[in-house]
């Protein structure tokens, strides 16, 4: 269908002032739309979806667009539905430590607001300035501090979702504990916008820590046996780190100026508890390591720069190199093997590779930069490698052209039919984010 016709039809169900025809720009990350709409209300979203559903139009959902390069086998859907204008706090009950917020609100805005009340959302996603809370939940983004605070699935207590047929469905509720009916929240966390448009999200909050520090422990000789036995001993202690993130030498160089395998071990608690844990670390510090303690503001600065190391789907890549990001999941301590293997690939594949992973939760992120052939080959290599560890590798960011060549989500699991069944029940006409998700869902 011609763009003009689509525009004319949409005009009947949606305010024209909030629409925009998109020139066929062939964005290198794909996942665009012919006509962009910027609804301000849930009701407007409902009208757009009803129209799309009746007329077989596809809809691509975008929050902040930081994950534009994450999945997706279509260059352009019919409608690009942006949540950029669905912003703001709906309800913050300070005493209950719960927050209801519109999906398009940028994460950092929320954290800044909450800081005044000594509270926070305990998620630490990449690109907090750009990423919207809806996108973070839909993509199930998490960071190193997941070790202590859990991930999006643990923080979300309620959602309002516009289903593809335009109906608004509430899942969960506003209370922190709730087992009424199926735990439908879980269905939408990480669903990549393939089941519905999230319009409101209710989260449980945590108090801001009274004190924090980040201990950098660099293994100057890169001795893996040492790293492993240190990590195992530390994890077997009663200390309560909020991160135990292994950082590859090239990433460590970028963050700290020193090119060693480095552990970022963070503590957040009252001051005496944090210092106590630091001294515990000193007491078990292995030989041939260097320890630096970043306190308070310095720890925050470290993490701020850490959260902007991966490519941002919103910002165009000027380098001419191919950028890719892998999310790898393995059994906790196998993270060591994954980070080492990634590091070794730098030389064999002539790439710049920055890798990190949590030794207490098993998730790694690998950023690869270089020639596209080499990037693809390194991804394949790592996929085979983690397969032997029973893990998985999902490509979180890759240019659109390359996404056609390599399965972003990996092999379908044996129970894929259940995913398909769920998708078909909720979105029978397959209008929402088609081909963005596992197995072409």
């Amino acid at each position: 269908m011609l763009q003009g016709e689509l525009y004319t039809e949409l005009k009947d169900v949606f305010p024209e002032s909030q629409m925009e025809v998109k020139e066929n720009e062939g964005h290198p990350l794909g996942n665009g739309g012919k006509v962009a709409v910027y609804p301000k209300t849930e009701n407007e979203i409902s009208h757009i979806l009803q129209y799309a559903n009746k007329n077989g139009k596809t809809v691509s959902i975008v929050g902040g667009g930081t994950k534009r390069g994450f999945g997706g086998l279509i260059d352009s859907a019919d409608i690009l539905l942006s949540l950029a204008n669905l912003k703001g706090i709906v309800e913050h009950t300070v005493g209950d430590m719960t927050l209801t917020v519109k999906a398009g609100t940028p994460f950092q805005e929320l954290q800044q607001y909450l800081e005044e009340h000594n509270q926070k959302i305990s998620l630490d996603p990449a690109w907090p300035d750009y990423a919207t809370i809806g996108g973070i939940i839909a993509a199930n983004e998490s960071g190193p501090k997941r070790l202590a605070y859990g991930s999006a699935r643990d923080a979300v207590i309620g959602l309002r979702v516009v289903y593809p047929n335009g109906k608004v469905i509430r899942t969960g509720g506003k209370v922190v504990k709730n087992v009424a009916g199926y735990d439908m929240n879980k269905l939408f966390v990480g669903s990549m916008g393939t089941l519905g448009v999230l319009t409101e999200i209710t989260l449980k909050l945590r108090p801001l820590p009274k004190y924090e520090s980040n201990v950098l422990l660099s293994f100057t000789e890169g001795d893996f046996a040492e790293m492993r036995s240190f990590a195992a001993a530390f994890l077997d202690s009663q200390m309560e780190p909020v991160s135990l993130e292994l950082i590859s030498p090239s990433l460590a160089e970028k963050l700290t100026g020193e090119k060693f395998y480095t552990l970022a071990i963070s503590f957040e608690d009252n001051e005496s508890s944090v210092h106590y844990q630091e001294s515990f670390l000193k007491s078990i510090q292995p030989p041939k390591t260097k320890m630096t303690i970043l306190a308070q503001e310095k720890a925050r600065k470290f993490w701020q720069s850490f959260y902007t190391i991966s490519p941002n789907g919103r910002v165009s890549n000027q380098t001419g190199e191919t950028e890719a990001v892998l999310k790898i999941g393995v059994v906790n301590l196998d993270v060591l093997k994954v980070i080492r293997e990634s590091h070794l690939l730098q030389d064999t594949h002539n790439l710049l590779i920055e890798a990190h992973g949590g030794l207490g939760h098993g998730l790694c992120q690998i950023v690869l930069r270089g020639g596209s052939e080499n990037v693809i080959s390194a991804i394949q290599h790592l996929r085979n490698f983690v397969k032997q560890l029973n893990g998985y590798a999902v490509i979180k960011h890759l240019p659109f052209i390359l996404r056609q060549k390599i399965e972003v989500w990996g092999e379908n699991p044996p129970y894929f039919f259940l995913f398909k069944g769920i998708k078909t029940k909720i979105d029978p006409n397959n209008i929402l984010n088609p081909k963005r998700f596992v197995g072409g869902i």
């Binding site: 209370v175 009424a180 199926y182 393995v330």
Partner: protein, 485 residues
């Protein structure tokens, strides 16, 4: 089958008996089935067709396949301590009891996970790993007997879930027999965030209506370095409630924050584990903080300050592990303690935003007066999870119905306050209608749509979780007659 000495004309029972190895593999005589006509929710009863005791996943799969092929309703049962009727065979189900599948399969301390069979008892896990300093966090008060499979079914909570989360936050992987007998494994090796929709999250708390769990990978935690427990007595419920809010607002995340009201105190003091609580106080708080020892004193100090500011009559810190254990035994046997002051009791399980505590407790008092039944309150105050216990005497005509209505009215009060009708015990049979207090018809249909994906014939635990009109529809669709309770 004759080999096992089975005497019945029901060919299905013979065939099912043949699937399961060993003796004591099936019960089918009425006198044996009586023990399975209800669970911890004793108000509705129905006899099952049979109870089978499989030894392993393959046997479960074969039984399920058999039921699927022969259109026999079936359901899973753990210890049968569920409080909402989830394991009651409403439709004369074949009960698949998982009590023989009770092995601890493996423990991996380094990676902090354990694999158990579904019939493994919750507390046994902690007991099996405590010598190495580890534990399993979800601690329902029934933990000495309920199964981890049943915990997954109900997404069970417990006193320490305020800080550490409920069952769903600790489940890393599941092996599941789907309602057609197919076996799937999700969350392989306990690795988080497997690509695709979060089936782990969906299955946990699905009250045994989406599949039967046959293997569970759970997260285990290291024991906290230090633990301190505080007991605080308040003359006034409102002061106690305010103290709860103030503790949380002070930025403290207690491991547990429990409250009991005057009637509850009367009961626990009359039961097996009295502590010597004063009987003339309106509320007590049991507060526990844990974590790094160097940080604990400061938190305890703050908690004591908060209590004093809220006119506490007396507040004390447990001086020994023995004292702490006594306080907890008194709390954890609280439901059963009602037996000491009332012939029967009905446990309810609403959730409210913490800030609405005083207002909802008042409303519950009114309900108690309206129905002329005493209502005790023992609850997880920190997360707003109320357990009104309606005391009644089933021998008095009409009183059971009255108790049910009073319980429902308490849930309405929770829903009106912006809360939920259940925080940990599940909907089961008991709260099917109350689902309407919080969900629209469309929202309920969105959930039954998901059930259809997993359980299209609705033979597995039918008639639970969702309001009855939906159920009539289902029944018609399948062209079978089902007797409602």
């Amino acid at each position: 089958m004759s080999l096992k000495g089975i005497r019945t004309n029901d060919k299905h029972i013979k065939n099912l008996a043949n699937i399961v190895e060993g003796n004591r593999s099936i019960l089918y005589k009425k006198e044996d089935l009586l023990a399975y006509d209800c669970d911890g929710f004793t108000i509705y009863r129905h006899l099952p067709r049979a109870v089978v005791f499989p030894n392993n996943t393959e046997e479960v799969a074969k039984i399920v396949k058999y039921c699927h092929e022969h259109d026999l309703p079936f359901l899973a049962r753990g210890a049968g301590t569920g409080l909402s009727g989830g394991a009651i065979p409403l439709n004369g189900e074949v009960i698949i009891s998982l009590v023989k599948m009770k092995r601890l399969i493996s423990v991996d301390f380094e990676n902090r996970r354990a694999v158990v069979e579904p019939g493994f008892v919750n507390l046994k896990l902690t007991n099996s790993i405590s010598d190495k300093g580890y534990y399993y966090a979800p601690d329902p008060s029934s933990q000495y007997c309920c199964t981890i499979g049943g915990n997954v079914g109900e997404n069970a909570g417990g006193a320490h879930c305020l800080k550490y989360g409920v069952t769903t936050n600790h489940i890393l992987g599941l092996e599941v027999v789907l309602p057609n007998g197919e076996v799937i494994e999700i969350g392989k090796d306990g690795i988080p965030d497997a690509p695709g929709y979060d089936l782990l999250g969906l299955l946990t708390g699905s009250e045994g209506t989406l599949g039967i769990v046959t293997k569970i990978t759970v997260r285990i935690l290291k024991n906290p370095e230090a633990k301190q427990t505080v007991l605080a007595y308040f003359d006034n419920v409102a002061d106690g409630s305010q103290a709860v809010s103030d503790i949380i607002s002070a930025g403290i995340v207690p491991a547990a924050l429990e409250m009991m009201d005057q009637i509850a105190i009367e009961a626990v003091e009359a039961a097996a584990f009295p502590v010597g609580h004063p009987k003339d106080i309106e509320a007590l708080l049991l507060i526990e903080v844990d974590g790094i020892s160097a940080g604990i004193d400061e938190q305890i100090h703050q908690i004591l300050e908060v209590c004093k500011r809220n006119h506490v009559r007396e507040v004390k810190v447990a001086q020994s592990e023995e004292e702490r254990a006594r306080w907890w035994a008194n709390r954890k046997t609280g439901f059963g303690a009602m037996g000491a002051i009332s012939p029967d009791y009905l446990v309810q399980d609403g959730v409210i935003p913490r800030s609405k505590l005083p207002e909802v407790l008042n409303r519950i008092h009114e309900i108690s007066r309206e129905y002329g039944l005493r209502i005790a309150n023992i609850f997880h105050a920190g997360d707003g999870n109320l357990h009104p216990l309606v005391l009644f005497d089933a021998r008095k005509p009409g009183e059971t119905e009255k108790a049910l209505k009073a319980g429902s009215a308490c849930l309405q009060a929770c829903a009106d306050a912006g809360g939920s009708i259940t925080g940990e015990h599940g909907v089961g049979i008991e709260k099917r209608e109350e689902m309407r207090f919080i969900f629209s018809d469309e929202e309920i249909a969105a959930q039954t749509d998901i059930r259809e994906v997993f359980n299209p014939k609705n033979l597995l635990n039918a008639g639970k979780l969702f309001p009855t009109p939906g159920r009539c529809l289902e029944v018609k669709k399948e062209g079978k007659s089902v007797t409602a309770s």
